[in-house]
Amino acid sequence: MRLIWWLATVGAVGLISIFLSEQGALVPVRNVHLTISSPVEGVLRDAADPLEDIYTSITDRGSLVRENEELRAQLEELEAQLAEQQGNEQTITELEQALGVRTRRPDDQLLAARVVAQDVSGQKRMIAIDRGTDDGLDEGMVVMSGAGSLVGTVTAAYEGYSWVRLITDPDSSVNAQVNTGVAQPRPVATPEVITGGGSPTPSPTPSPAPDGEPGATAIRGVLKGDLRPVVLLDLLPPDADIESSDLVVTSGLGGNYPPGILIGAVKSVQQRPESAFAKASVEPAAKLASLDTVLVLINFIPARLESP
């Protein structure tokens, strides 16, 4: 009898907590907890880094060898293309100057944040970063890797701490496009970012191959995560001419992501005659499983946050 009463009490308290949590009423409690736990999490994560390296080198040895071989092959191919690209780059720059077009966004402001925790439930793909509303973060803001490829969006922002939903999370949905006929992304400028306090400074963000490049076409679709390391690009035209290693970038449709952020490369394409749409598996450019530092694009206000 005592157990039944206990279960009823715990059930009631839990349900009320879930309800209050969904209403945002428990944010102060989380803020207090995160204020206490953030430094400890940072210390523990730093302490675990060497162990992580050892563990990863043991468990991922096979995939690392394969990846190394693939990268060597890609490097060889890319070096051969580099000379040609350098000439094209100069031409594009001259054309941009002549037309007054800015394909890069020099006004973007990026805030560097450390990854301090990650969700371990297995049902979500989320990470926690050590920046929050005190640093100007808000829900919906776009998060990128240190190299400038898409990582995800901020889903919950607390005072000094935020949760970021990765693009591999089942709830993640990104309007994306495949840039076909593009052999290599345009050179990515190393972003100038804010690492400490103070106001953000303008910095360039990476931009992929522009749609206007000769031979390049953009095929649009919707990128969805499903907990696997690769993400699924769905709703592609059934006759889409997509090949493995084509680059996938944000399309900017819907206004929740700025256009042109690199997401990854096509790994495989599924085109079935009976299916109305083609699908493609996309390997994210960012190493989502081992992120240490990310960049938050703080001056891009997603459409869902803009006042009507």
Binding site: V13, L15, I18, T59, Q118, D119, V120, Q123, P170
Partner: protein
Amino acid sequence: MKYAAAAVIAWFVAVANVSGLAYISVLGVTPDFVLIFACCWAVVRSEEEALIVVPLCGLMRDLAGSDPTGTAIIGFAPIVLLASFAHTRVIESDFPPAIGAVAGGTLIFLVFQSLVLGATGHDIAVWHLIRSVIVPSVIVNALFTPIIYLPVRWFSPPRPLAMQGGRRLTATLTSRS
């Protein structure tokens, strides 16, 4: 005092689980050390303590993670029921019941967690959830149980036998004078 100690340990385990230990990935999942700790405590120690410590572990897990607060408080509650079976002392050792409680507790918690996530608007891929999350988690959490069980066992007093006169069967036959 023991509840304060349990709360501090649960908090530390929860924080370590999402930060320093988050890189441990076996069969594609990360062991849930908070759940394992709650199960071990509930099995090894008394039911009175489990009634307090298990919800505390749930609260700590909720605060350290991204789930809505309350998910693990409810999701961990069946652990107390599972542990109560262990307290019937069908076998002498606490270890097999602890493994069983961890496996059962993981299964129930993940099912409840997916229900909560589904109810709060998250996408749940049922087949993928079963194949890639629930089954591996049950196995992995059970495999990692000894790491938590042994310290909990060492710092706990031996449990008295439940059956009155149970020792008589193994006692020496020398008469007391």
